[in-house]
């Protein structure tokens, strides 16, 4: 029998629907992989017994007219899961067990899926390498001692290593797309407001967006369809009808106009990234699309803008972790202020503290206008750049990241170099528009590289279609030797 865990989500769903395989068999197969893959450190919490129980329940009373019938799914540990510890990768929430379920996970469960476990991530989703997690760094299955990217590093690693048939992450500045690119998987950051933020531990509220991480574009369409829905509990959720992304997915991009923004050709860009991009252009051209050079003139301000807006919101969002109501509380200190100081000093890691400091600073009286307000103005200009471009093109093609996966520890002490990893991904977050990373090539070490497609607001279907065109024509094929298994 072929290894079911190597199949795509769509194939597994089909197999279950056709009764070729049971949910129990699928779940057991993934559990077996998980148990052998501790070395990757992809999981913070596993719910293996519970998942197996759910699988058996499903098999007893099969409901097959759902999108994800009997599918076990591990999710980023930023999604609150009822009765299952949710840490956000932080010591602060080491023992936090929510009494509620996030809207996004709830949507998955109501389509027939169930929880396999909680996946490692950078602390409060702040990081690009999964090295800021209190629960240790995650290893990229493409090669030992390499980072899987971040902040959804555990998700990307688990997915690439066949520990979950699909997963979900959150993307504030590239946290889905960058790890997808680093692990040879597909990752989509939807339009801001398409997927509810209710029940997701907040990092930067105006940028955070949950999205699917999958092995194929087809899977990505299926997952987005399962996740996206208006949620009245999230004031920024978009009111719109549900779409059939998977049914409407088609490899037909003839006549579509694809923009190539010159500003993304950054200084010292490695040749292999340039080649990847050129190759992407060629693939799309061959598939019948028209390639158009465009300009997004404020791109160079995107990264500094992001590193003002995101920490500002984070500094406020993380104020609630004060040791008073839940989560970690220091036993040191003899008054309220000392309790706060000790709790937050001991409970947060360095990167989180760094961003709280930056955020507090840029919002301070006397600095607000120069930093936060100016950043908001630039953010508007960046959005306007995109709006203008989308009058001429259907989508924009760029590399997902300026490099392939790097070594664990390589950039840990150089935050600026770490932040530069997000250079191609943050503009879409600032503009609130959808973007997808598709595996499209390899660097000279043979590490996967992704191409990013950026679309206009709520144009996910078109993005998925173009991504499918790239996927079908790309030479990239995931083939991992399971060196990490014991």
């Amino acid at each position: 029998m072929t290894d079911i865990t190597k199949k795509s989500l769509t194939q597994i769903v089909k197999a279950i629907k056709n009764k070729e395989v049971s949910s129990t068999e699928v779940t057991s197969a993934f559990i077996k992989n998980i148990e052998k893959s501790k070395k990757l450190n992809a999981f913070i919490t596993t719910c293996l017994d519970q998942a197996l129980k759910k699988a058996k329940e499903f098999d007893k009373k099969q409901k097959l007219n759902l999108l994800l019938p009997g599918i076990p799914i591990a999710v980023k540990d930023l999604f609150c899961t009822k009765g299952v510890k949710t840490t956000a990768g932080s010591k602060m929430l080491e023992n936090f067990i929510p009494t509620y379920e996030s809207t996004i996970t709830e949507n998955l469960w109501s389509e027939g899926a169930f929880l396999l476990g909680k996946l490692n991530c950078d602390e409060y989703a702040m990081g690009s390498s999964n090295e800021t997690s209190f629960y240790g760094n995650v290893v990229n299955p493409i090669e030992d001692k390499y980072v899987p990217g971040g902040s959804s590093g555990g998700s990307a690693s688990a997915l690439a290593a066949d520990l979950t048939p699909t997963t979900i992450g959150t993307d504030t500045g590239g946290s889905i797309r960058q790890p997808a690119s680093f692990t040879g998987t597909v990752g989509l950051k939807p339009t801001y407001g398409l997927c509810s933020r209710w029940g997701i531990v907040a990092f930067a509220s105006s940028l955070d967006q949950a999205g699917p991480m999958t092995k194929t574009v087809e899977d990505c369409a299926l997952m987005l369809e399962s996740m996206a829905a208006f949620d009245k509990k999230d004031s920024t959720s978009i009111k719109k009808n549900k779409e059939n992304y998977s049914k409407n997915l088609k490899d037909g991009i003839k006549g579509l106009k694809i923009g190539i923004p010159k500003e993304y050709r950054v200084e010292n860009m490695p040749k292999e990234i340039d080649n990847l991009w050129e190759n992407g252009k060629k693939i799309l051209k061959d598939a019948g699309a028209k390639i158009i050079d465009i300009s997004l003139s404020h791109t160079k301000y995107a990264l500094p803008t992001y590193y003002i807006v995101a920490p500002a919101e984070a500094s406020s969002n993380l104020a609630r972790y004060d040791g008073v109501k839940y989560g970690y509380r220091s036993t040191k200190g003899s008054n309220l202020i000392e309790m706060y100081e000790n709790t937050r000093s001991e409970g947060f890691g360095d990167e989180v503290k760094r961003r709280i400091l930056i955020g507090t600073y840029v919002l301070s009286s006397g600095y607000y206008d120069a930093y936060y307000l100016k950043a908001q103005k630039v953010r508007k200009l960046i959005k306007e750049d995109f709006d203008r471009s989308f009058k001429d093109v259907d989508a924009i093609l760029t590399p997902s990241t300026p490099s392939a996966a790097f070594k664990i520890g390589e950039k840990k002490d150089d935050p600026i170099s770490m932040y530069l990893n997000d250079i191609f991904t943050v503009p879409a977050n600032l503009a609130g528009i959808p973007a997808i990373s598709v595996p499209s090539g390899r660097d000279k070490k043979g590490f996967p590289l992704g191409l990013q497609l950026i679309g206009k607001t709520l144009d996910e279907q078109k993005l998925l279609n173009i991504a499918l065109a790239i996927e079908k024509r790309s030479v990239f094929k995931q083939s991992l030797k399971k060196w990490w298994e014991n």
Partner: protein, 494 residues
């Protein structure tokens, strides 16, 4: 001694120092709890007096991933209040986060409105003994209340009750237009009255539904520029506001006359010691790091909604006062008193509709208020119903009972709650208006007091009152005084 007051309770509240006369300038930030079944951004109940931490949702206690969703009813209440304050309603307003750490502030920030409030400038007209005065409203904004820290249950721990956390407040900021303690009193009462008419705030100060931060500064009489102000936080009764202002103004005058300057600072009023003291100076002032709450979209209000609310506005105190003067021929003073609370005006109209309008006002403001005051009752709990008071007034008006008897009947009504008809009949209190019967009584009295009759006839006419008194005594006060006068005069002439 510095701070001898001249006309402290007049519109001119001037402090006479050793060197100068000082004018006191006051502005209020009133926090009014919105009447709404649920909180500003969550579905939790707002009922007062529940057991601690029983009305707290995951949003109110700021659990990870929880998001605020605006309660549209609270928005409508704010619009309503804005219209009641003759204020501009802003079609676009923004919720901001006011960041600070405290144990009873679960989110670590309060959602409030900073730069773009829902309601802009407006005005309130105060009726004062020497005329009316318009006080400017700077703005009204919506914000969440914090929870409550309880320090006196345990010597080593502070307890936190989050029932109040997230309840909607309207902060109503006045311009620095108030100049005396009487004006402060009139202003707070007027605001309270307007909001109670509108049903947007119950104004219950004991339950903390209405509290104020008081800004006080002083300046030399005649000076145009404002002095440096101090803000006295969270004062929860008009009396305490007045005491705090009084203390604070004198403190500032003393400092200035001693050649010192005022530090802009936040102060607390100690109700036990009757003094204000520094809470934090400007240097220590919190940097609240206000910024727009990214969890909430800007609040967009449809013009149609405002028009709709405007159409449904109830009659407000000022309009009602004008109507009472016009319709019922009341004096401005009477009208003012009767409209001060909606319940009083309702009671008045109930009484007046079936009886004499003027007498109704006199009786309510006189005997009824005295009775309610005495028993510490609100008018809605009045033992004398509006219907019964109306009937009593009808008896007076028709001359069936005298004013004196009416007071006696009222006493009985107050005690038993019975209607006047029953009391008058059972006690036989109806006025004696039969001329023949009265003539018989009077003749008897004149017969018995011949000496006095002689005195009267010899020109000592002052003695007339004696005869009236005797008649009243004989009739147990029931004789119709007008008839008694007529008959007495007639008989004494003869």
């Amino acid at each position: 001694m510095v701070g001898k007051l001249m006309n402290k309770n007049d519109s001119k509240y001037i402090i006479k120092g050793n060197k100068n006369k000082w004018e006191v300038v006051i502005g209020l930030e009133v926090h009014a709890q919105v009447i709404s079944n649920s909180k500003l951004f969550s579905g939790s109940s707002t009922k007062f007096g529940a057991n601690p931490n029983t009305q707290v949702s995951l949003v109110d206690s700021a659990f990870p991933g929880m998001l605020p969703v605006i309660n549209n009813y609270c928005v409508e209440q704010a619009i309503k209040t804005g219209l009641g304050l003759n204020a501009k309603i802003n079609l676009h307003s923004v919720f901001d986060r006011k960041n600070y750490f405290y144990a009873d502030l679960p989110q670590g920030y309060q959602i409030s409105q900073y730069k773009n409030p829902i309601v802009g400038e407006g005005k309130v007209v105060l009726d004062l003994p020497n005329g009316s005065k318009t006080v400017g409203i700077e703005r009204l904004h919506l914000e969440q209340d914090a929870g409550k820290s309880i320090h006196d249950i345990d010597p080593n721990n502070t307890y936190v009750d989050l029932n109040r956390s997230g309840i909607a407040l309207m902060e109503i900021v006045s311009k620095p237009d108030l100049r005396s303690l009487d004006e402060v009193n009139a202003y707070v009462k007027k605001l309270r009255s307007i909001m109670r008419y509108l049903g947007t705030c119950d104004g219950n100060m004991q339950e903390g539904s209405l509290r104020a931060d008081v800004n006080v500064s002083v300046r030399k009489l005649g000076e145009k520029n404002l002095g440096t102000r101090c803000e006295i936080k969270n004062v929860n009764s008009i009396k305490f506001m007045q005491m705090a202002i009084d203390y604070e103004a004198k403190r500032q005058v003393k400092l200035l006359e001693d050649g010192k300057s005022i530090d802009q600072e936040t102060r607390l009023f100690d109700t036990k010691k009757n003094e204000t003291r520094s809470m934090r100076s400007k240097e220590d002032a919190h940097d609240y790091r206000y910024f727009p709450d990214p969890d909430l979209l800007p609040l967009k209000i449809d013009k149609d909604l405002i028009d709709d609310i405007r159409k449904k506005l109830p009659e407000l105190p000022d309009q009602k006062k004008d109507r009472f003067i016009k319709e019922y021929a009341l004096t401005p003073y009477e009208a003012n008193v009767l409209v001060s609370e909606k319940e009083i005006s309702d009671f008045y109209e109930d009484v007046a509709k079936s009886s004499d309008k003027k007498l109704a006002a006199t009786w309510i403001m006189g005997d009824l208020f005295a009775l309610l005051n005495n028993k510490d009752l609100s008018i809605t709990k009045s033992p004398v119903s509006a219907k019964n008071l109306g009937e009593l007034i009808k008896y007076i008006k028709s001359g069936e009972i005298s004013g004196r008897i009416a007071k006696e009947v009222f006493e009985h009504m107050a005690q038993s709650g019975e209607n006047p008809k029953k009391i008058i009949e059972s006690k036989g209190l109806k006025q004696q208006s039969d001329p023949k019967e009265l003539e018989r009584i009077i003749k008897g009295i004149l017969e018995k007091n011949k000496t006095n009759v002689e005195k009267y006839k010899s020109g000592k006419e002052k003695i007339f009152g004696f005869f009236v008194g005797e008649v009243m005594k004989m009739s147990k006060g029931k004789a119709n005084p007008q008839l008694v006068n007529e008959i007495l005069k007639k008989l004494l002439k003869g």
